[in-house]
């Protein structure tokens, strides 16, 4: 996770983070599964950070590949996290599963 004043600054940090991680894992005989690499932008609902929405198209260089921010919710450790951290998506999916069991 990285924090910055704007998306470009954070993307730079994430790229540096990815480069360091890839280098350090290779020294330990490990490697990342590039197909599973994802990025998500956390934006406050409405107000101040409306201007960040176009930045969802920003590209993050991870190793030899490029990763873009997820436009939909991101699943991590079994939790569906949406950009505004409202967990509506998680709630909806849980409810859908529960309703399927009930019927």
């Amino acid at each position: 996770m990285a924090t910055g004043k704007d998306v470009n600054q954070v993307v730079e940090k994430l790229e540096a983070c990815a480069a360091e991680s890839i280098e350090l894992t290779s020294r330990r005989d490990l490697q990342f599964n590039t197909a599973k690499t994802e990025a998500a932008l956390c934006t406050r609902r409405g107000g101040h950070q409306k201007h960040l929405r176009p930045k969802l198209t920003a590209k993050i260089k991870v190793g030899e590949g490029i990763v873009r921010f997820n436009k939909q919710a991101t699943r991590w450790l079994g939790v569906w996290m949406d950009a505004h951290q409202t967990f509506k998506e998680h709630h909806n999916r849980c409810m859908k599963k529960a309703m399927a069991v009930q019927t």
């Binding site: 996770m1 990285a2 924090t3 910055g4 004043k5 704007d6 998306v7 600054q9 954070v10 993307v11 940090k13 994430l14 540096a16 983070c17 990815a18 360091e20 991680s21 350090l24 894992t25 330990r28 005989d29 490990l30 490697q31 990342f32 599964n33 599973k36 690499t37 994802e38 990025a39 998500a40 932008l41 956390c42 934006t43 406050r44 101040h48 950070q49 960040l52 993050i60 991870v62 990763v67 921010f69 991101t74 991590w76 450790l77 079994g78 939790v79 996290m81 951290q85």
Partner: protein, 164 residues
């Protein structure tokens, strides 16, 4: 490779896993962001930390982004020698190092398909999935990397050993 252990083997491993976990805590061998093989640190706790950090960033009118990376075939890829060297370098308890080394040594794999027993082969790399003890040595093995990334890039890493 999923390993099937005897009940006694599982009991012994659980005891050693607790000892390793206690030692890791006592000697601060793990990064604060590591979860999944540690007491009272569940997946939900880790997700909650991420949400909390996002809210903190918003309060300061900052932007928060996350990059999710998955280590491929983590347990299978670990070289035994490197795992043991990493533990020795961290000045760990000698008995626990020897126990882990013994646990990972002289392992063989043998396949049985429809009653046909194939020749067994030595396994030189990887730690078998199914051993209760192994997430902790793996977490210690990767702890240095996580701390190093946080220090160099001014980011915060959260890692979770998604073991089973």
């Amino acid at each position: 490779m999923i390993s099937l252990l005897s009940c006694m083997g599982i009991v012994i491993e659980k005891v050693v896993a607790e000892l390793l976990s206690d030692e890791a805590k006592r000697r601060a061998l793990l990064s604060d962001g590591q979860s999944g093989s540690r007491e009272k640190r569940s997946a939900l706790d880790t997700a909650a930390i991420m949400v909390d950090r996002a809210h903190t960033a918003w309060k300061a009118d900052n932007t928060r982004c996350i990059l999710l990376m998955d280590i491929k075939a983590a347990l299978q890829s670990v070289a035994r020698g490197r795992l043991i060297d990493a533990k020795k370098a961290k000045n760990r308890d000698g008995d626990l190092i020897r126990w882990t080394e013994s646990c990972l040594s002289e392992r063989t794999v043998q396949m049985v398909i429809e009653g046909n027993v194939f020749q067994s082969h030595p396994v030189e790399a990887g730690v078998p999935q199914g051993y209760p003890i192994l997430p902790i040595p793996f977490a210690i093995h990767t702890a240095g990397m996580i701390m190093c990334v946080d220090e160099r890039v001014q980011a915060e890493s959260l890692s979770f050993v998604d073991y089973l």
